[in-house]
Every structure is written in structure tokens, then in C-alpha cells.
């Protein structure tokens, strides 16, 4: 469903990705690991279409369509979801209002049946429960005054409702305590299905104890330098990244 070939990308004109190849098939869970500054988050943001993140070479095809040619909202409508590393606050816009606009747009684009407000509320409450967020969060402004952990859980809650085809999770584990990490992992695992691809961008192995990936890739200096199964993550945990990148690195 996602085919990345020799992808080159810049952030504010600075080259970050330098010839990245990656194929993700439906049903697979991939973990992208690597030292700070290796381009992990850049990859997630390039795929989602953030401003200033430009594809300068190669291609990224999502279900056969070139992502470069789609606006960010079109990518979302096509079923691509990014759980943000730093979810931003939108004061005064309630979570519910936000979800309504998002789901209306995405469900319509995907030809799914429209949810009336009763259904929407019921679904949203269920999703909140799944990630251990009180339903009162639906009335609050998007991420407004949420703690770090609440923001991350709010992202997963949105993801559950949006039912993406491809979910990109950008360092969703950072800043989470062990309980929150398990809650988040449970939410993500519940989305695992034969039709869905999941990409976990993470610095640490510990998330992968709870969401066991099918593939692990090590990203360094804008390229994937090693790929393997879930055991590769354990090896990285023990040895750090230095043995792969040839640099001293304290993970």
C-alpha cells in the first residue's frame, strides 16, 4: 500500500532523506528506528505533507498514487493518518467539533456512511474509553490544557475513529509513563488488521514490547541501513546504534 523508492526530501531546503526505500503491505507493522537526527520524524511528516517538507527526488506511492501530488487533506482523505509527536492546541475548538469536521470530510471522501451526531458521540465516547480518556475531554478544546500523556492518548483516540488505511505514529511513546504506554499500545493493537498498515517511528525499543512489529528498519543519515525482524530492535536496545552507523551513540 505504501511504496517508497529512492526518496529524497528536504526540510526548509536542507536535505534530510537521501535515497530511502521502503515497502509496506496491508496488515504489516513496521518500526522505524534510528538515532536522533536520522530523519525518522522527517519521513513521517514528508508522507503526511507538512509545509516546508519537500520531496526533491524519488517517489512515495500510496495505493499507487504519488503522495507528492496530493494536498495534506487529500492524503488524509485517502486514509493516511499521522499521530503527532507534539500535538498542537487549538483553543476554543472542541474535540467533538474537530472530530465532526474531520470525520465528515474523511468518511465522505471514502464513500463511508455518514455518522449522525448521536452515532458520532457514541463512537467518540467508546474511543475515549479505549484509551482511558474521560468523555469530558470531548467537550474541551483540542489538546487545550491537556498533559503530555493526554495529548498522545487523544491522538490515538482520533486514530481509532478515523480508521485509517495507513497509520503513522511519530514517537507516540515519548513522554509516556508505563501505564499510558500500555494504554496507547492497546489502542494501536486493536487497530491491527489485515487491511491496515502501521508505521511506528520510535527512538526506543520499549514501545515494541507492547506493539510487536513485523519489520524493524534502522534509519541513519536519511537512508535505511538495516532491516530485520522484531529481534533487530532487541539487538539495538543492547548495542545502541553505533555499531551500525559507525559513530558513538548513546541511545
Amino acid at each position: 500500500m505504501l511504496e517508497i523508492r529512492d526518496l529524497h526530501a528536504t526540510v526548509a531546503d536542507k536535505p534530510i532523506l537521501k535515497g530511502l526505500n521502503l515497502t509496506i503491505k496491508p496488515g504489516e507493522v513496521h518500526a522505524i528506528m534510528g538515532p536522533n537526527g536520522s530523519g525518522k520524524s522527517t519521513l513521517a511528516n514528508v508522507l503526511a505533507g507538512r509545509d516546508n517538507y519537500a520531496i526533491t527526488g524519488g517517489e512515495a506511492l500510496f495505493e499507487g498514487k504519488s503522495l507528492a501530488e496530493l494536498e495534506p487533506e487529500e492524503r488524509a482523505q485517502a486514509g493516511l493518518f499521522l499521530a503527532f509527536q507534539y500535538p498542537v492546541e487549538i483553543p476554543g475548538v472542541s474535540n467533538m467539533e474537530f472530530l465532526k469536521a474531520a470525520l465528515e470530510s474523511v468518511r465522505t471522501a471514502q464513500g463511508k456512511e455518514e455518522w449522525d451526531s448521536v452515532t458520532l458521540l457514541r463512537q467518540a465516547r467508546a474511543a475515549c474509553k479505549q484509551v482511558n480518556l474521560d468523555a469530558s475531554f470531548l467537550k474541551r478544546g483540542v489538546n487545550e490544557g491537556f498533559s503530555g500523556g493526554e495529548k498522545k492518548r487523544n491522538e490515538i483516540m482520533q486514530m481509532l475513529l478515523m480508521e485509517p488505511k495507513l497509520a503513522l505514529l511519530d514517537e507516540t511513546d515519548s513522554g509516556l509513563d508505563i501505564d499510558a504506554l500500555q494504554t496507547v499500545a492497546k489502542g494501536v493493537n486493536s487497530l491491527r488488521s489485515p487491511e491496515r498498515g502501521i508505521v511506528l517511528v520510535t527512538h526506543y525499543q520499549r514501545l515494541l514490547d507492547y506493539i510487536v512489529p513485523d519489520f524493524v528498519h534502522v534509519l541513519s543519515n536519511g537512508q535505511i541501513i538495516k532491516s530485520g525482524g522484531k529481534e533487530l530492535a532487541l539487538e539495538l536496545e543492547k548495542k545502541g546504534y553505533g555499531w551500525l552507523t559507525g559513530e558513538e551513540e548513546s541511545a
Partner: protein, 479 residues
Amino acid sequence: MSQAELDKLIRSNYEAGFSTTVDTETLPPGLSEEVIRFLSAKKEEPEWMLEWRLDSYRKWQEMPSPGWAHLHHDPIDFNKVSYYSKPKSLDDAPKSLDEVDPELLATYEKLGIPLHEQEMLAGVAVDVVFDSSSVFTTFKEKLWEAGVIFCSISEAIQNHPELIKKYLGSVVPKGDNFYAALNSAVFSDGSFVYIPKGVRCPMELSTYFRINEANTGQFERTLIIADEGSHVSYLEGCTAPQRDENQLHAAVVELVALPGAEIKYSTVQNWYPGDENGKGGIYNFVTKRGVAHDNSKISWTQVETGSAITWKYPSVILRGDNSIGEFYSVALTRHMQQADTGTKMIHLGKNTKSTIISKGISAGRSSNSYRGLVRISPRAENARNFTQCDSLLLGDTCGAHTFPYIESKNPSATIEHEATTSKVSDDQMFLCRQRGIDPEKAVSMIVNGFCKEVFKELPMEFAVEAGKLLEVSLEGAVG
């Protein structure tokens, strides 16, 4: 988002920009005692009213136009403005809607304000003012049964002279300021409301102002008196055709809240703002003020999206003990619009309380200023004020300014002031777009969220309208 994308978003059409062709009697431009005599005679006003006008005119002639606001415009030539324009069909005051010129009715239909009572929003009575004249007031009889007087100010001068003599100019004196003096001399029409003691007005009252004729100034005068223990909610809306020249609008609104009364005054102002290059648009110089007696409350809510220039400070004089003043404002400027708006809360009585929530949104090359005064007089024991001024910038070619003035002469006062300036951030836009929301919808959602505290103060039907108006004003905006 890039500036170019933002510009694209902000550029949009002014939906109320059409004009209506009706036969009018319009005075040639120019201002003199003769013009005022003519105008007064046309309205068959009593001698005392003419004298009041002439006295105002003399005061006005001696006053300089104010230069302190953060506004830039060429001097206004007051002799190029026509001070009277009335559709001929209104010469014989229509007794029922059937007698109103269909062209006029069509104009209001087009603006989304049907005048047929059965089609109207249930529970809203409307007075419509077209250029210099009141066209029609709906639900008059039903209000009359409750003892409420709701009519044009011209009618009130004829039929309720005792109330006019007592209260007209009692809150905004003739010589209060340059534009108020001008208005006092030449005001054409406007609305008059009297709520008797202890009456809760059974419906929302509303006036809809429309400037149509070119080169015509609109000088309306509104007077609302809420007698002891009464309650009224009033809303005004304004639009004007899209014209290349600037048109002048100088209104005066006076509110009197007698002991225990409550007045809620809401405005949705959408005068033509001019085009992207600052051509055309209304010059809006307005004086709005209320006096709150013991235990009374005056609440101003305004949503200002139109006008090339807005100069407006709805204020409350908290004269009585335990009186409450509130000001909730959303001012949106785009293109080359300039707004200098805010409020004055003058605390005179004991235990008086005021709240100011101001939300300024600037886009394009516009300039948006908040100017507010909180004054606590020596005998205002335990006065409290809370002020919050937030500015939101769309893009990097607009400006937001805050000019708060605080004068406290009583040590028991509590005054709080909070101010923030923020931008619609790329991160917020990206979050919305990543969730499938298109950029226009995203901007309007973010801006509406920013304004939420103010919108919730509007009567419900109008809160929806105001939200839509912001959406239209921002149509085509950010990426």
C-alpha cells in the same frame, strides 16, 4: 501556510454588496442650518427638536475632528455628503407590509431578513432602516400589548415627546464628541425602545440598517430605556452596497438602564469594508454608551467584520451601586480595513463590576487596535474589573495593537488585565489538514474557536449568523 495562500483565502466577495434602484428624494450634498431646517421640517418635527439640532450643529462647527485614534484616512469633506435620502414610496407611511414598496421588501429578502411576520425568526421584532428612514417595524402591536414601545425615533419624537425630551442626549450629550455632535444635528432615523417597569420584553428586538443611496451618510440615532426591573435584548445588523467611494456612517446609541433593569445590546456590523486595495467602504464613526443605575446591568456584544474604518467604543457608565457593565467584542479586519475599537468602563458606584473580553483578528494588510479605558472613581468602593484582550494574526502583513488605559482612584479596586497575541500557526493548520479538513474550513474553525467566548454571549440565532459571517469573510483564506 504561505502568505500567497493566505491572501487567496482572505480575498472573498462581499455578499451584501448589491444596490437597489428605488425612487428617492435625496438632498444635494452639503451641510448648513438650512439643510437641518429642511430635514426637521420634512420630518414635521416640533420646534424644540429643531432647536436641539441647531444647537448641536453650532457645537459641532466649533469642534475639531478627533485625531488620536490609530487610524489613517484623508480628511472627510462633510459638504460632499448628502444628509437626507428617503425612498419616495415611504412618503405616506405604510400601514401594513402590503403597502411597502416591493423593491424594498425584495432588498431585505435578499439580505436574509424577511419582513413578513410569519416568515420571521419566531420571537424577533425588527425595525428596518433604509438610508435615512425607517421602513417598517414588525410585531408592533404584540409588543404594545406588553406595554413595550418599539418604533422609529421619528415616530417617538411625535408620539412620546416626554420620553425623548427627558432622555435624548442624557447619556451622550450633544457636544460629547465631534461625530456625536454631527449626529445630533442631522440624525435621520433609528430605533426607539421603552420597556416599562418590571416588564421582561417578550421577544428579541432588532434593527436592521441598510445604506443604499450613493454619497449619502447614515446618521442613525437609537435610544433604549429600560425602566426599573425590566429586561430587554436588542440586536442591530448593518450592510451597505459595494461602492468605490467611501461613505460616512456616524451613529449614536444611548442606553438607559434604570434601577434593577438589564439591557443586552448586540451588534453584527457588516458594512461594506472596501476592496483589497482599500478602495471604497464605509467610514464608521459611532458613539455608543449606556448608563447603568443601581443594581442594573448593561451588556454590549459586538461582532465587527465590515467598514473601511471602525471607530467605536461602546461604553458603560456604572453610575449606580452594584451595577454591572460588560463588553464582548470580536473585530475582524482584512484587506486594508482599519479598526480602532474597544470600550470605556466608568465605575462611579460602589461594588460595581465590569468585564471586557476583546478578540481582534487581523488579516491582509489591515490594522486592528483595541483601545479601552477602565476608570475607578474615588467613591467607587470595591469596584472590580476584568479585562482580556486577545489578538490573532493571519499572515505577516497585518497589525494588531492594544491601548489599554487604567485609572484607579480608589485603593479598594481590583483590576485585572490579560492580553495575548497569537498567530494561526502552521502546526494548527497542519493538524486540521492532516485530519482531512480543508484549509478554508480549518481557518474558520480556528478563528471561531478564538471567538467562542464572545459568540456565546450573542442570542442564539445570531451566534450562528456571526459564525457564518466570519466564515464568509475568511472565504478563500489559508493553506
